[in-house]
Symmetry: C2
Amino acid sequence: MKCRFCENTAEIVLRRHKIALCKKCYPSFFEKQVTYAIEKKKMFSKDDRICVAISGGKDSMSLLHVLKKLGFNVFAIHIDLGIDGYSDRCKEVVENYCHSNDIPLVLYDLKENKGKSIPELAKKKRRPTCSVCGTVKRQITNKLARENNCDVLATGHNLDDELVFVFSNLLNADVHMLARQKPVLDSRGLMVKKVKPLYRVMDAEVKYYADIEEIPYYAGKCPFARDAATTIYKKWWNELEEKRPGIKANFYFGFLRKIQPILESRIKQDESGLRACKLCGEPTNREICSVCMLFLE
Amino acid sequence: MKCRFCENTAEIVLRRHKIALCKKCYPSFFEKQVTYAIEKKKMFSKDDRICVAISGGKDSMSLLHVLKKLGFNVFAIHIDLGIDGYSDRCKEVVENYCHSNDIPLVLYDLKENKGKSIPELAKKKRRPTCSVCGTVKRQITNKLARENNCDVLATGHNLDDELVFVFSNLLNADVHMLARQKPVLDSRGLMVKKVKPLYRVMDAEVKYYADIEEIPYYAGKCPFARDAATTIYKKWWNELEEKRPGIKANFYFGFLRKIQPILESRIKQDESGLRACKLCGEPTNREICSVCMLFLE
């Protein structure tokens, strides 16, 4: 099979797009998808200062790479979560890449700053590690982004991540979470604007891009892994995609276009409820934010 | 393992309810589920005259059986669709059962009344058979129910049917269909009240009931079968249910409780648009109803 755009032999088949591409043409196809997402959703422009939250994994590293390549004004933030045999490797990837590519990097060491690593915190509080980690990362990325004067915070969530998030929240009929489930969340108060420029590309498509562009990333899994449910749902959707190419994008984009706006208009975002945490000053709905609650003795 | 309710050995394991039952106790458990559905959704009472649409398959035959057994005032309607090697067998089951159980039966022969069977109609119009059949059955069951002075029309849709219907419409982001997706639709104009008393029981649970109660039904498939998508989705959900018992009910009931009402309140049912078809007098949104359009030369 020939590449859609040149005379080379196609090596990458994108069944949902009904096209096949060679390795030389694939990156610009991928970059066009990302550019389309950024423009369609008015995420940011060349004048904006963009903070990219990077974990060291393939999605966030690819995001940083593609935004830099497209000429955006980026800097990176990375949180050292203190997870043995994992965090060190992630940090190494992140530091090397940013250094070689001349990208400013803000490093944040959780244990140094807050006294406890994620595993220590989860153990002490007897709460699921992924849930504790999510709560902490959400607040600290927002704080780092804001304190470093960015216009917008970009994260590496791809189509599969977003799809499974929507699906899980449909399973729980969590209307509030579904109402907030979109690739752009405008800033409000101390919360910076958040965007997901990879929301239109699938997991496998990001992997092709990272491999062809030779983007370094840490491919190991966090030892605490994802919760079983997310893994089951991803596998399950992949089986369906195999049988009906395009079904994942159809479902997720259909949700975004027609269902999310109805739910959002119904669920009034309780903006007035957002205030500064009494202890740390970060935005919260309560008197003391959930991160301070975690770190309190 | 012992039966939850007696000393017998349990033969039926209902993982989503975390119980196991013997064959003697299962029917009353099933009947309680149906009674709960009828009462919770105010479907009908002992004073109502209930029309049950029966195809001859396990779901509608079980519905007729359970309603009669629970002491409701029922009569049955059956449409002979004229499908070779299928309709005759269905009609035989239906006639025998109603005769033996002293249930009034209204038979409607499509070819006799409208001049064409479903296969003839689909072929002539070059439209998918299942779609033509659905359009015709929807109108004729409503007409027969109304003309036989019922208070409510009951159909045998079970939890799996409803779940897959919701899921398909989510995949297509069909907000109008999702807004109408509930186990009770009130009457409006010439449209009778429609209810689905089996909406809380799963496909396999109806099958157990039909087998234990020795309800006769035609187990063969319609030769035109269901469309491939529905079959794939049902299989796919069953695999997930296998791994996470209760997920189907959780998803469907969560949708009914929290999401459907929001969509329904947003999509105003265009009642004023409902009028009598110029040719047959049945309710429609257009000048000539979709069934008359099918039968027009």
